[in-house]
């Protein structure tokens, strides 16, 4: 085995959505690397920029309106500069994506088998028949019962859990190195969530994929991630190994999210209890974006965007109180 290759590399990644009325600064300087077989979990509220980041990696944000800057590489390919055709060749092949709502993420008027097979045909150039055979194997791989019959089924004929399994089967159809999961369990019942999560973890290990997992469910993050990044107003406000972050968050926002103590029973609990609302991203924040909601706010917080500070190796947070927080931990 060679040295682990970097699947994703982001440096000062910025994503803006420009329309006639306004410019929305969705992602404002994100840095991270993802190694092979590594699982990164991005935590954040709606509108924090986590899904946008994920889509940016695949070049899936609406092309006409999106302006990206900084550096973003997917399996060595420069995503910002790459042509649509080039990206299209990577998508589904090197990196795949699964979504929150399998009902709407699957085309309602095509059979499951067809939707899996067309990906295989596209990237591997095999016959449709061979692709269907593969599709059957994939359905079995994701543990869909009576897979053969399900090949001919339409999405609305499956239960939520089975749909998400089918979605995963599509994503895995070309054995990608990277799986991007955008809140894949949020829309499912609690019991089904666990099954899907277990399935994902098993597949990640069996197939040796790197995974970026976007969620606002802490339990999910704890279950599957190697590392966690907490995102707020388009920035990573904290990043670190899963255990450390869960145990002792450094950033007041992360602390707010996690509450005072962290324990295993958090699964299924939503991020709910911080007073106030996230900032309007139509204006690029020039100070700590969390300041208006922060219990520990100081004047310094309002003068500039805090730098990422790392009190210990592998951990970092954008807060001037990092040192104190680290000590308190």
């Amino acid at each position: 085995m060679m040295t682990p290759q970097t699947l994703v590399r982001a440096r000062n990644l910025n994503v803006k959505f420009v329309s006639r009325d306004a410019t929305v600064h969705a992602v404002n300087g994100v840095d991270f690397d993802l190694a092979e077989r590594e699982v990164l979990c991005i935590l954040g509220e709606s509108g924090s920029g986590k899904s946008v980041t994920l889509r940016a990696i695949m070049g899936l944000n609406p092309r006409a309106k999106t302006v990206m800057s900084g550096e973003l590489k997917l399996c060595g390919e420069d995503v910002i500069a790459a042509s649509e055709a080039r990206m299209s060749a990577l998508r589904g092949r090197q990196a795949s994506m699964i979504f929150q709502e399998p009902m709407t993420a699957l085309d309602p008027v095509f059979t499951i088998g067809r939707q899996i097979a067309e990906t295989i045909v596209r990237h591997e150039g095999v016959s449709y028949k061979a692709a269907m055979a593969r599709a059957l194997e994939l359905l079995e791989l994701v543990q869909i019962p009576s897979a053969k019959r399900r090949l001919e089924a339409y999405p609305h004929e499956l239960s939520g859990g089975l749909r998400q399994r089918a979605m995963i089967a599509i994503a895995l159809s070309c054995r990608p190195k990277l799986l991007l999961a955008d809140e894949p369990t949020t829309a499912l019942d609690a019991t089904v969530q666990i099954q899907i999560l277990l399935l994902l973890r098993r597949l990640q290990q069996e197939l040796g994929m790197g995974v970026i997992f976007v969620t606002h469910d802490l339990g999910v993050a704890g279950e599957i991630a190697d590392r966690i990044a907490v995102m707020y107003a388009g920035r990573f406000v904290e990043e670190g190994p899963v255990r450390d972050v869960m145990r002792a968050p450094l950033h007041p926002y992360a602390q707010g999210l996690l509450g005072a103590t962290v324990h295993a029973g958090l699964r299924g609990k939503r991020l709910t209890t911080i007073p106030g609302a996230p900032p309007d991203l139509r204006d690029l924040p020039t100070r700590c974006a969390f300041a208006p909601r922060c219990p520990m706010v100081e004047n310094a917080c309002r003068s500039a965007v805090p730098e990422l500070r790392g009190p210990e190796p592998g951990r970092a947070a954008r807060c001037i109180h990092v040192a104190q927080a680290a000590q308190a931990a």
Binding site: R55, M58, L60, A64, M87, S88, A89, L90, R91, G92, R93, S96, M97, F99, E101, T104, A105, L106, D107, P108, V109, F110, E118, T119, R122, H123, Y154, H156, E157, M167, I170, A171
Partner: protein
């Protein structure tokens, strides 16, 4: 599926019957004695009484309807007041010509409308979109009979490239000698479907393009033409319904264009009948066109069922 189709057909029967009731009532909403609406005013008394008996006009309305329906089901739509010829025979000839016109206009309209609509949806927000939308709004806003007049002046009188009127010599045939007669009226008639289709297709396609599964498809790295296939299959049921309705509207709404172009179809037949107060012709033409529309809706429904797997289970 078959069960659904049968149920749909069963549902169409009461509709068709109700439509026939409305058509039947046309004679009765005409002011005065209904008998005056179906025989010429100078008909001798005894003949009038004979007709009154034949049509059961001396009986209560429901019985009259039953008698009338009996006649209709045997293909007897009564006689024209003006020509005394049976309405049915003339109507079939005319309906055939109108169908040729409506179908061609529909094809023009659908092709251009779908093209412009998709273009607008794919380039939403750009000048292409705005241009297509302006064209569409223009198409639905223009009084097409006025457009027809202008086209005749331009293409027939000044440039002399298309005939100004009529449907060509003798029976209709799909050869150039006849098709040249079709072009101007069909173009005129197609401006409404162009507008409507452009708007509908733009709406549907941009809605589909905004749906999550399109992101999934892009995320799978599909080529554009495969993506198109998905968009088309998703848009098809709705667009099919709109197209069906439009074809029906064109069949029933060609009266002005047929009048302008002296196209010998049901429209000009209706127009002439209205002025002669030839109620049997109005009634017959309305019945036939409305029944065509009912049939068309049925066919569209069934086709939708075949395309869209979601419908049957509902």
């Amino acid at each position: 599926m078959l069960k659904y189709i049968l149920r749909r057909i069963a549902y169409a029967i009461p509709i068709a019957l109700s439509v026939s009731v409305v058509c039947f009532m046309l004679v009765h909403i005409a002011p005065g004695d209904p008998i005056d609406a179906i025989v010429p005013p100078d008909t001798p008394k005894d003949v009038v009484e004979q007709v009154r008996k034949d049509y059961g006009l001396d009986k209560p309305l429901p019985i009259q309807y039953a008698v009338w329906l009996g006649h209709v089901l045997q293909g007897d739509l009564g006689r024209s007041i003006a020509t005394r010829r049976p309405v049915a025979g003339d109507l079939i000839l005319a309906a055939r010509k109108t169908f040729v016109l409506a179908l061609t206009a529909a094809m023009f309209g659908f092709a251009i409308g779908i093209f412009l609509g998709s273009l607008a949806a794919f380039f939403k927000g750009t000048w292409i979109d705005r241009l297509a939308v302006s064209f569409a709004v223009g198409g639905v806003s223009v009084p097409h009979y006025w457009l027809g007049m202008v086209m005749v002046i331009f293409f027939s009188v000044l440039m002399n490239v298309f005939p100004a009127m009529g449907a060509g010599p003798g029976d209709w045939q799909w050869d150039w000698q006849h098709i040249q007669y079709l072009i101007l009226p069909a173009l005129t008639l197609s401006c409404t479907p162009i507008g409507l289709l452009t708007r509908t297709v733009r709406g549907i396609v941009s809605e589909i393009l905004n749906q999550d599964f399109v992101t999934t498809l892009r995320g799978k790295g599909l080529r554009n033409r495969t993506m198109m296939l998905h968009v088309v299959k998703n848009a098809a049921p709705t667009i099919l319904a709109v197209m069906g309705l439009q074809l029906g509207y064109l069949m029933g709404g060609s009266i002005l264009v047929e009048t302008i172009f002296s196209w010998p179809g049901t429209g000009s037949m209706l127009n002439a009948a209205i002025f002669r107060r030839d109620i049997p012709v109005i009634q017959g033409a309305t019945l036939v066109l409305a029944m065509f529309f009912v049939m068309l809706n049925l066919i569209v429904d069934i086709m939708q069922t075949m395309i869209d797997p979601r419908i049957v289970r509902k």
